[in-house]
């Protein structure tokens, strides 16, 4: 994509936002996400949101089952940990259980349009 970028820079009349072949709706809805500002601000904003949500517990009385779920910000912490556990377990599990694409030998090796019929014929000829 760097080439496109450099092309844009050379262009005397660059598009104000978005890329050359981008859909106008995408420009409207999503192009701002690619800005550096968004990158920097997003984490901060999210952190602020979490803090506010945690603080709201002081104001809003929460129903709970009386167990460990009565701990402060239980659902937030649980959600954080659960998410992290699920994602991080992807590393060891992936190493354990990931196999090459054609592990079951069910994909055609050469010709992607190879249909079952031809495969069968091959099998019989051999």
């Amino acid at each position: 994509m760097t080439e496109t970028r450099s092309g844009e820079q050379n262009d005397p009349h660059p598009q104000p936002a978005g890329e050359a072949d981008e859909h106008p709706l995408s420009v409207l809805l999503f192009s701002w996400m690619r800005s550096d500002l968004f990158d920097r601000m997003f984490l901060a904003g999210l952190g602020a949101l979490c803090a506010v949500l945690a603080a709201l517990e002081l104001v809003i009385h929460r129903h709970d089952g009386g167990g460990i779920d009565s701990l402060p910000v239980f659902q937030g912490v649980f959600g954080f940990l659960a998410f992290a556990l699920a994602v991080l377990s992807g590393w060891p599990l992936g190493r354990l259980m990931r196999r090459p694409e054609n592990y079951y030998r069910d994909q055609p090796d050469k010709d992607p349009d190879n249909t079952v019929e031809e495969e069968k014929e091959d099998g019989h000829d051999g």
């Binding site: 167990g67 779920d69 994602v87 259980m97 990931r98 030998r105 069910d106």
Partner: protein, 595 residues
């Protein structure tokens, strides 16, 4: 015969039959107009039939089957909500598939919908089995529609498992019905607060068989693999259709037959948890959605197992909402698949530039499934969570909570993020066709409608008063919204942090081992070894087959092939020897008989 009389008859017909009739029409439909009539007219008729359905609990019984009483149409509030969901699904998938003229798929989709709907409205076990089998038959065309070897093999596996489920169910039903002396729902169980649920006794003969048959279709743990195997291997429309009916029908039957069965609580809880780990690793996004289906069905199964009115309402509501938002996600992935030819996360990314509408709808679906407040999943899943939130089931509740965070991970973030954002794959596909976008838009609107103003939807639930009370007192309370937002916001925070720290696993191509390994690798390997042994013993071994390693097929192939051991042209002498051998055996048997 006046029009009134005709209408009287028309409303006593199982609404599923209208869809089946439309399926027949679709076989012969040529051109967009005619197809449109079939694909939209059928669901419209069925919806009308639903609206004018006879009073709840009315039975329309025909005894034309081997002298057994069959109740072909028995609407009640439980079947109505599922029927409503199926009509929605039929209409949405109808719109979605308008872009591609494939009469076989149209017809199969409608037949699937019709059979599922008819099953939901059936009033006895026999008709239930009949329509259950019909759904399996209808799926044949769908799974075979993708003309690759991979797709066809997956289709074959799917078909076998569906039929196994049907056979188990059939055997169980025969045993159960013969023992109980009737096959009619009304005779088998009693109403629970006005609704006939949990009518079968698991300990009666056949009960376990029925549970096993339904369990396979509901993708119980260790039987879940057909789902993740088949859905990613169909066409874009096939996945949408299959995701809507197959497992949902199983949830309905579980609710009807086994509501309150405590095993289901744990089975369901387990089903919500383990797919999370698979989904994290999985690269194929449609397969991720399949695991996600697994996980969502777990919530419903768990709720069915809890069996309180609120839980049953939750299960039914979540099942129907799931049809909509999971259908929406499959539609979005289908559009991606159609435009790019793949749904592998490692090959996608940055598609939002040219497919913003699809991106938008996919995001709505993702938020719905993640149960973000004001989206469909929040309204329905909350019922289940609330029903499970009791001290006695605290562990289960924690499991469900974990799964909720997991859903956010794989369906809420992973699907839209890796397909449409993430690193730019350089792919610039065209936006999906208008009809597809229309279907997705409608589904999105439904998601919002259920999420923002769930009242109309809760009206349809089996225990209406319980649902309305929940809506009034529990759903949109500040503390409920707060804890839900906490869960989601902190989980998203975790995502962003992990991504920053480069701890998020990169998307790599590859397949993830699952239980299917047993029959796709281990069994062929074992038979392959045996086959090689047999080869040493003098059986002619087919070299090409041996190398291909499809041991199971090749082994039986060698035995049964046209020139194989068993089928080889039986020489006359051989036949005569068999004859004499059998004769002498019968002689010995006869002469050794006492008296």
């Amino acid at each position: 015969m006046t029009v009134d009389r005709l209408l009287d008859i028309a409303v006593t017909i199982n609404p599923g039959f209208y869809l089946i009739a439309a399926a027949v029409w679709a076989v012969f439909a040529r051109g967009p107009g005619s197809r449109g009539v079939a694909l939209l007219g059928g669901p419209a008729l069925a919806l009308l039939a639903l609206l004018y359905a006879p009073a709840s609990g009315t039975e329309i019984t025909r005894s034309f089957f081997l002298g057994f009483n069959m109740s072909l149409y028995r609407p009640d509030s439980l079947s109505m909500i599922f029927g409503f969901g199926f009509v929605l699904a039929a209409a949405l998938s109808g719109v979605y598939s308008l872009h591609r003229e494939d009469r076989m798929q149209d017809s199969a989709g409608l037949l699937y919908a019709g059979a599922a709907m008819a099953a939901v409205f059936a009033g006895d076990l026999i008709s239930l089995v009949v329509f259950w089998e019909l759904t399996a038959v209808a799926s044949v065309a769908l799974v075979f529609a993708r003309q690759t070897k991979q797709g066809q093999m997956a289709g074959m596996r799917y078909l076998l498992i569906q039929l196994l489920s049907g056979l188990l169910l059939m055997a169980g039903v025969v045993l159960y019905g013969l023992d109980a002396g009737s096959f009619l729902f009304a005779d088998l169980g009693q109403l629970h607060r006005g609704v006939l649920i949990g009518m079968l006794d698991i300990h009666a003969p056949g009960g376990l068989l029925i549970l096993a048959g339904v369990g396979i279709k509901a993708a119980f743990p260790t039987f879940h693999n057909w789902l993740t195997d088949a859905y990613p291997n169909t066409t874009e429309t096939g996945a949408v259709v299959m995701s809507a009916y197959t497992t949902t029908l199983a949830v309905y039957v579980l609710a009807r037959c086994f509501a309150g069965l405590d095993w289901l609580v744990w089975i369901g809880a387990a089903m919500t948890v383990y797919p999370v780990f698979f989904a994290v690793m999985e690269n194929d996004l449609r397969r991720v959605l399949a695991y996600s289906t697994n996980n969502q069905i777990g919530f419903m199964v768990c709720a069915v197992g809890i069996g309180t009115p609120l839980a049953i309402d939750g299960a039914a509501a979540h099942a129907v909402a799931h049809i909509v938002f999971k259908g929406l996600l499959f539609m979005a992935m289908g559009a991606v698949f159609m435009r790019t030819g793949t749904t592998k996360a490692s090959e996608l990314g940055g598609l939002h530039r040219t497919m913003p509408w699809t991106t938008l709808f996919c995001l709505i679906g993702a938020m719905s499934i993640s149960a973000l407040p004001l989206f469909a999943g929040f309204s329905t899943k909350s019922m289940i969570m609330t029903a499970a939130h009791t001290p006695a089931m605290f562990a289960v509740w924690l499991m469900l909570l974990f799964a909720s965070a997991g859903v956010l991970e794989h369906s809420g973030i992973k699907i839209p993020y890796f397909a449409f954002f993430s690193h730019d794959s350089g792919k610039r596909p065209k936006e999906a066709p208008f009809t597809m976008l229309l279907a997705m838009g409608l589904a999105s609107a439904l998601c919002l409608a259920i999420g923002i103003a769930p009242g109309w939807f809760f009206e349809l639930l089996p225990y209406r008063s319980v649902a309305m009370a929940f809506l009034a007192q529990d759903l949109f309370t500040a503390d409920h919204l707060l804890v839900q937002m906490q869960l989601l916001a902190f989980a998203v925070l975790a995502f962003v942090l992990l991504k920053r720290l480069k701890l998020y696993p990169t998307e790599q191509p590859g397949v993830i081992l699952d239980i299917e390994w047993l029959w796709r690798k281990a069994a062929p390997a074992i038979t392959g070894v045996l086959g090689r042994l047999a080869g040493r013993l003098g059986v002619w071994a087919d070299k090409a087959f041996g190398r291909a390693g499809a041991g199971l097929i090749s082994g039986s192939g060698q035995i049964f092939a046209p020139d194989g051991v068993v089928a080889r042209h039986l020489p006359l002498a051989g036949a005569a020897i068999w004859t004499v051998a059998l004769l002498s055996f019968v002689l010995i048997l006869a002469m050794s008989s006492p008296g």
